[in-house]
Symmetry: C3
Subunit: 130 residues, 3 copies
Amino acid sequence: MHIINVHTRDRIDFIDITSKISELVKDVKEGIAFVFVKHTTCAIFVNENEPGLLDDLKNVLAELVPENKDYKHNVVDANATAHLRSILLKPFCIIPIKSGKLCLGTWQKVFLAELDGPRNRKVIVFIVGK
Amino acid sequence: MHIINVHTRDRIDFIDITSKISELVKDVKEGIAFVFVKHTTCAIFVNENEPGLLDDLKNVLAELVPENKDYKHNVVDANATAHLRSILLKPFCIIPIKSGKLCLGTWQKVFLAELDGPRNRKVIVFIVGK
Amino acid sequence: MHIINVHTRDRIDFIDITSKISELVKDVKEGIAFVFVKHTTCAIFVNENEPGLLDDLKNVLAELVPENKDYKHNVVDANATAHLRSILLKPFCIIPIKSGKLCLGTWQKVFLAELDGPRNRKVIVFIVGK
């Protein structure tokens, strides 16, 4: 089991962690990398690292779970939108591994989605394979 | 492979199944628990067990997939929203295991999301590890 | 590691790939099938194969990530909605296996969701088990 430390820089921030995961699978002939964040206000997703698209994603999250609502959780802690967006985006992904490399498509990158930053986050990577 | 039986109490209901999964991993030094529901109208998610937040989640699901629409599936069976919400929330999750414990963050709990209850649901837990 | 080739027929298209995955698990007593698409504009989901429901899902995706918006990614490539819908639906799933069969519920089928077709897509299936 490996831990990747990620420092996020803004309230909403998408950090490409692909190269950090790639380093961990160099000796794996065939298997799967399981990626998991131990947090309720961030998430993991896989898609293209294109700045315009990442801005579009921020806007989609703002539309799907808008800030200006009377969330009950905000009475406890003023970050309901971060929790709710994390539930939609999910705190994990799986990635196949072959010949020491992640089996990702040309445009696929693995991101930590910070939804209530800036913070220091821990990403667990567990590898099954040989 | 283990089966956890869950009895849900309402049309929409979020049941914390963390302790039931924890009991199954006590002898696992390091691994992953795979959680899967064999149903098309419920789901699995990981987040905080805070009553206000769970109410907020009900409201978000009602906004994203509202009841008052002419869903074609409702001609077959009047539960289209449950299917569509299940597709968004997903019927599975993964959780790393270390030293006989689920590697969850302080606030992370595993929930079965009932979307068309009350019903009896079966949750499969499969553990890979040693 | 197995590859399933899928030819999609329309811009948005949901292809049931359950039988193709089932063929790969016949000799597995107990385990998990991991399903992953190496693409940023399609996804994998599990739910019922009912034509009305699949039409409803198209409408839900059109509501959640509408076409008629000024997406920044469209300056680079006119398929922002496909990327954003893929992020919501996710490019992977897991399915338990028992006695040579996928542990799916009566109504559960595994779908490739084409979001920017028609195209030829590759689905990776990796099996852990014995």
